[in-house]
Amino acid sequence: MRHAGSWVRLALLIAFVVVFLIPIYVLLVTSFKPLTEADPSQAWNLPGTWTFEAWGVAWEKLAPGLWNSVLLAVPGSILSCAFGSMNGYVLSKWRFPGADVLFTLFLFGMFIPYQGVMIPLVQLLVGLNELTGLQGFFYGGIPGLVLAHVVYGIPICTLIFRNYYVTIPDELIEASRVDGAGMLRAYWSVVLPVSGPAIAVVIIWQFTSLWNDFLFAVFLTGPTSWPTTVMLNNIAGAQATPYSQQMAAAILASIPTMLIYVLLGRFFMRGLMAGALKG
């Protein structure tokens, strides 16, 4: 009986795998089709002739966006990591009066719908452009987008680091204090060397959300600084773009985050869990 039950469960799980993979089949199969096989009657067929034609065109159209996304996501996730680590360290090991209230106020920043700050944020960044005389730097440029992501990433990054540092025994910090080390010294010599896993989680989490973000990008960037998601949406939104190119572009846009997921899935998972189990 128990044996039969586990076969039923296995069969159901496999059935769901098939359903989950349907979009992937569509993406791959369609992207390799030549235009001559674009007829609806062949929608679900494997390509008669496999071709990289659509991939070439999609790459050409998407490449500037991919590069912008690299310029956005790499510095963005490193900066987020630095802020998150320092905050998490203080909020777990060097607590000051009101630290709990502050942490709760930070956490709310994780849940606000960013629509609620978007219009003033645009005005603020436009103002910064005028103030500094740097046209297209804050508003309409990658630096402004990095700034926004780093600031709004502070809550989640602080949370992940704080929850990780809580598990470091206080005695280790105490011991280094007895040896005369101050706060920064203890951070540098005791905490940072064991931060590896939390750093990996935060970098992966932030990289993925920066890479996949559309909302901030669409409000804050212009044609020269559009990241992948905006370009992808423009490519796919144009009526003239054949399905094969749309699908190839969608795959190209997803490769970096998929690679991270495949190679570092374990850390990816932990980041997801941190997002869920607040406090």
Binding site: T104, V151, A253
Partner: protein, 293 residues
């Protein structure tokens, strides 16, 4: 004085973040609410204070009603769908099964993809063309004898179809949450209930299910707040069409097409409020719970 010296360096180190959160989260939220209470209905005018008039007037607009209704249908289908599917997948796996790691990886990978990329595939899958013009699911359904649908172009239930890609993307996450929840139930508790003569279903109903409540709550909060601000997915699947309008898309149109900052800010305020009413109590509750333990 010594105590102040003990915590002051820490405070200084987080000061940049406090300032940043203060300005960018709370300051800009306040600015947005303030803007929503003015009559700045174009880019150039100064805008004077009008109180809550924009918040009331927007209910006179048919499009606002439509977008709110759409958001409700989407939220109900998406949250219920992802919760039930995620729970069911975890339930199938909780006792351990051959190939569990592979199953988990496959159910979870849509999380790594952007809503924009997801939207592109699902727009193809949910294409409303029928019969000889059918691609996507309609062609597949036609071939195996199932009815064909208008999907997201249906006036009444289009948003239920729109929730399908979101369920596809997020149910793996819910599965992971529930799986962690299931695994957190001590085996001794189940064993004790079995010794007391409970059936497997009884053990599940009276021992496991109550212990899954916190996980269910977390999942609800996360899915709910994703749902109420949904934007990328809608834009990628259908653009700015009225038939799939939601508040976040309406706001985008108000800002970029109607050039009406006060209206955009009003819609944004409503989105924030709809999330805040359940997230704030939840945050206070979970911080208190952590302090007690």
């Amino acid at each position: 004085m010594r105590r102040v010296r003990a915590w002051l360096p820490g405070l200084l180190l987080v000061t940049p973040s406090i300032v940043a959160i203060g300005v960018f989260v709370y300051g800009l939220l306040g600015w947005n609410f303030q803007l929503a209470m003015t009559d700045k209905h174009d880019e150039v005018s100064e805008g004077s204070f009008v109180g809550l008039r924009n918040f009331i007037d927007i209910w006179d607009q048919a499009r606002w009603h439509l977008s709110v209704n759409h958001a409700i249908v989407f939220t109900v289908v998406f949250v219920a769908g992802a919760l039930v599917l995620g729970w069911f997948l975890a339930f199938l796996m909780e006792k351990g099964i051959w190939g569990e790691g592979t199953f988990r990886a496959i159910y979870l990978f849509p999380m790594a993809v952007s809503f924009v990329a997801t939207g592109i595939v699902w727009r193809w899958l949910m294409n409303s063309g029928m019969d000889e013009r059918a691609v996507g699911l309609n062609r597949l359904f036609d071939a195996i004898g199932l009815p064909q649908w208008e999907w997201f172009r249906n006036q009444e239930w289009g948003m239920a179809a729109m929730a399908l890609p979101a369920v596809w993307q997020m149910s793996g996450y819910v599965m992971a949450l529930f799986l962690a929840g299931f695994r957190g139930v001590p085996e001794e508790l189940r064993e004790a209930a079995r010794v007391d003569g409970a059936t497997e279903w009884g053990v599940y109903r009276h021992v496991v299910l109550p212990l899954l409540r916190p996980v269910t709550l977390s999942a609800l909060i996360i899915l709910g707040h994703i749902s109420l601000k949904v934007f990328d997915l809608i834009v990628a699947v259908s653009g700015k069409q009225i038939v799939t309008d939601v508040p976040a898309v309406f706001m985008w149109v108000a800002v970029f097409d109607s050039h009406d900052p006060a209206k955009g800010a009003t819609i944004a305020s409503y989105i924030v409020l709809s999330v805040a009413v359940f997230v704030i109590p939840y945050l206070i509750w979970s911080v208190r719970k952590e302090r007690r333990s």
